[in-house]
Symmetry: C2
């Protein structure tokens, strides 16, 4: 046990008590606590000694009441359990990026996580009602035309989204990745290694990420002068099950030689369907996913995929938010982080080398 290294304040003393014990006024203790100037070195040390000895910590509620600052930020994840559960690495990584910042800059992180889409409205109401609990918000997977965002802007609550905004482009701060370019690079890689019947399984198309990844697929084919066959585009909704079903029912009968899936879990579903049909990956059909989840390295064959800087996304979003809150930045900021195509076994690069 290392009790002596931990501070706590069992007696719940207040500023007044500390002042009395140190023989100074409440104001002076406040100045010392907040590291303000105009306190003599002698007094400062005297007060600090008492503070240490009594394990005094100021009451956050009293502080907030007058400063109107809480040193707490909120992270809003309205997503229902299904998506979170399958793509379970995304939110932990994002949150880890956020807490990396809040831990070092001494903020606390309040988690607003929905349990079902039906309750989304209830969650938003609670967040708005309790907005004085937080100095600012990070919004994950929230449509920018959502009423929540309009309210936050009106109430002047600082916030940063980690989604490509569909409106307010320069009025709100966001951190995202170039999904179009990332998808384009993946499909271009298929073309470069000689694949010709390239199919895609899209994500949910009401989602900017889903839309952009499909756009990248189209652009890559067009730029290569190849026709876009709409039949080779299957709607997969980001999910394992639909990835499997769409491959089995829609794509395999059309004999594709490559599949670009807009998420890793759909890619794994596709591979499962391909194997069940007695075909090989990547020899018969090459596959590239999107996300680079830990499972990409663990599957057989290992999955080629687009690596997303998820941790960095949370990190940058939190950094921007705190700068906004602390007034270090006045203007909104828009950040687009780079992605990387990670080549593993499933895309068949080792079979037919890039033709330059």
């Amino acid at each position: 046990m290392n009790s002596e290294r931990i501070r706590s304040n069992p007696k719940n003393l207040n500023l007044e008590d500390i002042a009395r014990k140190a023989g100074v006024s409440r104001s002076t203790v406040s100045r010392v606590i907040n590291n303000e100037p105009y306190v003599s070195q002698r007094t400062r040390e005297k007060v600090m000694a008492v503070v240490q000895q009594e394990n005094y910590a100021p009451n956050p509620a009293a502080r907030t009441l007058v400063t109107r600052r809480t040193r707490v930020i909120g992270v809003v994840i309205p997503t229902s359990i299904q998506l979170v559960f399958e793509d379970s690495a995304y939110f932990p990584a994002l949150l880890q990026g956020v807490v990396d910042v809040t831990n070092t800059r001494d903020y606390a992180t309040l988690l607003w996580w929905g349990n079902s889409e039906a309750d989304e409205q209830t969650l938003y109401n609670r967040i708005l009602q309790q907005n004085r609990l937080m100095d600012g918000l990070i919004l994950a997977s929230i449509r920018t035309d959502d009423a929540l965002i309009a309210h936050l802007m009106r109430m002047k609550v600082p916030f940063v989204t980690v989604e490509r905004p569909t409106t307010y482009h320069s009025e709100i701060s966001y951190v995202t990745v170039d999904n179009v370019e990332a998808a384009e690079n993946a499909v271009k890689h298929f073309i470069d290694i000689g694949r010709r019947r390239i199919a895609t399984i899209t994500g949910a198309l009401n989602n900017p990420d889903g839309q952009d990844r499909l756009l990248g697929y189209r652009l890559a084919l067009e730029k290569a002068g190849m026709p876009v066959d709409e039949a080779l585009i299957a709607d997969g909704q980001f999910r394992y099950q639909t990835g499997y079903e769409m491959t089995k029912g829609q794509l395999l009968p059309l004999n594709p030689d490559a599949i670009f899936a807009a998420s890793d879990v759909m890619a794994h579903g596709a591979i499962q369907a391909i194997h069940e049909a007695g075909l090989r990956v990547p020899e018969d059909i090459a596959v590239i996913g999107f996300d680079d989840l830990p499972t990409a390295m663990q599957s057989k064959p290992t999955l080629s995929t687009v690596h997303l800087p998820v941790h960095e996304r949370g990190f940058v979003a939190a950094s921007i938010l705190l700068d906004l809150i602390e007034g270090k930045t006045q203007e909104t900021r828009q950040v687009i982080l780079p992605t990387e195509l990670v080549i593993r076994e499933s895309c068949g690069t080792h079979l037919r080398p890039v033709s330059k």
Copy 2:
């Protein structure tokens, strides 16, 4: 947009303002807001009308200052990033269970998540300093002999742990599963279907979960009158990579016909090593994992494993904590949730039916 359904309080009115507009006193508005008796129906409606119209929400800091309640609970996850990242489904599921409760009972959830083991002490200090921010805590993966727990008890902060405690058995509340029995059942199943050289890959043995699962393995063999060969026990630390390496380097040369892994990710690592050695799962070596992650259903062969009620664990822990906070329960509570052996392809049950 559905702005009209969302409430917000842009003008930041206070009780006094509402009272003036409603033509009553501050006290009366307070009674209405808090749904207290001794307010006439007429007055109540008059006040509610103004509250609705102005989208008034009470200031939580002011409220907390006098009630000493925050309606916020904290969830502490000191675990470093590596473990979280591989076994990434565990904490989201646990958190989801917690927020299911906090959402319906109108509490907010503060996330204390460490970024490295080195900073664990710093994190604990921050939690203790800021303890007045929360009404209680849920502690995940924290050793019960940790100094943090001693401090919380001394400060009379209500808390519930989701780990088998190593001390204070009846003094603290916890929610856990019977790891010993679960592991015993898994190994017993191997024995029942005729496997005789049963190996195990253990979790981290400084962890109660890891210890108990190994104990269950030993008990199953002993009860069946089979010898425990220490060479067939490999230390896997819960991780994919070590699961793979231990199987390849230590276990395969000993020709086991079954492997019980103390986590799914290790089981997947083991299967990978078995396949690379040109052997088949489950024909040559049967495998059972532990956790029942979503990936268990997606691998090939699908993974037999012990299903853990992780969501329920968070749910029950949060329920107990809120009961404790609200005084609905005085005493601590200890809950052991049931596990379930989920039979899929990797354990070979379909090959050699249970011999009764």
